[in-house]
Amino acid sequence: MFKTLNVKLLIIAVGIAAIGSASVGTVFASHSFEAGVKGDNIPDNTHVRLDSLTLPPGGVLPVYDASPNFVSGHFLLRAPCDEDHVPTITVIAGHIDESADNTFVDKVPLYYIDHASTADSCVWHAHIPDPLNGGASRVTDVDLINLSGDDVSFNPGDVVDINVQRVLGSIASAPYTESQLPGDLEHGNTVYDLNDDNPDNDGLGFHESA
């Protein structure tokens, strides 16, 4: 009698453990600094197809301008990349003012998404702004700029998608006090990769949650 009960209990315990381990195995990567949407507001989304487009050296494609507001949101890019998964185009963000003295832009740190990339083009995500891994702290503008020295031609399916989730403030009340122009930057965004075997290129603030 007791023996049968023990076997039944053992089977139930093993079953619970199996279900538990299966759910622990499902993890979502997130960053604690991602502000997300406040309340039940609907985020603003900009989707720009890049296929058939060629940017000459020094060419710029502005993809978002929220001036005078600086914003937080999520950035997605599918574009040609090199063997280190660095995009051949450079993604920059910050504030482009009418006055050069009040303009500050910097390269956006990107997260390479291997499982969404294909042979010709890579896919990256980025957090706007990213207080831990670099880039401009107050973003009103996002641009693609060709700093490579060669033409950059996009592949079919290449796209940039920007999802702005909240306004953080007005650049008028928090202007940049130092200037950095697009032309001051060099080719190549910093690229992080959470999926390779190197834990040193995961960036800061990343955590897995069950």
């Binding site: 604690s32 600094f33 406040k38 702004p129 207080p131 831990l132 107050r138 955590h207």
Partner: protein, 281 residues
């Protein structure tokens, strides 16, 4: 024609002086006091955190049954200075210091001399509003100061302790003698809402018509927090010594406010009719 111009000028002058007088009576609205903390960490060295402290619903007025609920919670807002992104996951507490008036504050040699002290009050995070922390309270007119202490979490990468005191800002005197270094801006001290009455009341009558609500009493706080404002006052009025007198005073003012425009219109038509009669004669 000349007399008509004179009347219009007189009315304009009176209106203008009334508007100016009423604006001069307005209490200056303070925002929040703020300070900055600098992180010392191998990953985020030199990053700054902005800490803002103040009361909800400025300007602040003490509880006045039937008129103002006095609910001005202590609130703390934490953000990354560079990006203004909100900082979540902080554990914060305040010690509260209350001085009933300027005389009491000026006499004090330390915060320990406060007329009322409440220690270890948890300033909890507000659900659905990252970076916003709050402790509920009902205020009385007077000078409020807070010692804010605890640990602030910088995006799960670094932590920093805070232990800093700041008092409200008064338009009458300097109330910063117990403030820790580094605070800028300010939140307003709590005023008596009767000072905003127009026409002004006889202060002596007011004293007779009101009663003290002991906001430090947890039972009273629970009543005020759990019920709607009017219900809470209805309950506290029942407990008061002179509730009818207080209610009557409010009713008289309401009648006066409603009656004034009627009297003005009646006077205007009366004057017009009299002038018409005179011209017919």
């Amino acid at each position: 024609m000349k007399s008509k111009t004179l009347v219009i000028s007189a009315v304009s002058a009176i209106t203008l002086s009334l508007v100016l007088a009423s604006s001069a009576m307005l209490q200056p609205a303070f925002a929040h006091a703020s300070t900055s903390l600098t992180l010392k960490d191998e990953h985020v060295d030199g990053k700054k955190i902005r800490v803002a402290l103040g009361h909800t619903n400025e300007p602040t007025y003490g509880v006045e049954p039937g008129i103002h609920d006095g609910k001005h919670n202590v609130e703390v807002l934490l953000s990354d200075s560079d990006t203004t992104l909100s900082l979540t996951g902080a554990t914060l507490k305040v010690d509260k210091y209350y001085f009933k008036n300027v005389k009491s504050f000026e006499k004090a040699k330390s915060v320990k001399d406060a007329d009322e002290i409440q220690k270890g009050v948890v300033v909890g995070s507000v659900f659905g509003d990252p970076g916003h922390y709050m402790a509920r309270q009902v205020e009385k007119p007077g000078i409020y100061g807070y010692r804010l202490y605890g640990t602030i979490n910088y995006f799960d990468v670094a932590k920093i302790d805070i232990d800093s005191t700041v008092f409200c800002s008064s338009s009458e005197v300097d109330t910063s003698k117990f403030n820790s270094k580094g605070w800028g801006g300010g939140y307003g001290c709590t005023e008596d809402i009767r000072d905003t009455f127009f026409p002004s009341k006889n202060k002596g009558d007011d004293k007779k018509a009101t009663f003290e609500l002991d906001v430090s009493n947890p039972e009273v706080q629970n009543v005020v927090f759990e019920g709607a404002a009017n219900e809470a006052y209805a309950m506290t009025l029942t407990d008061s010594k002179q509730p009818e007198q207080a209610a009557n005073t409010t009713a008289i003012y309401q009648m006066l406010l409603a009656g004034l425009p009627v009297a003005a219109i009646a006077g205007f038509f009366g004057y017009k009719s009299r002038r018409k009669n005179k011209s017919e004669e």
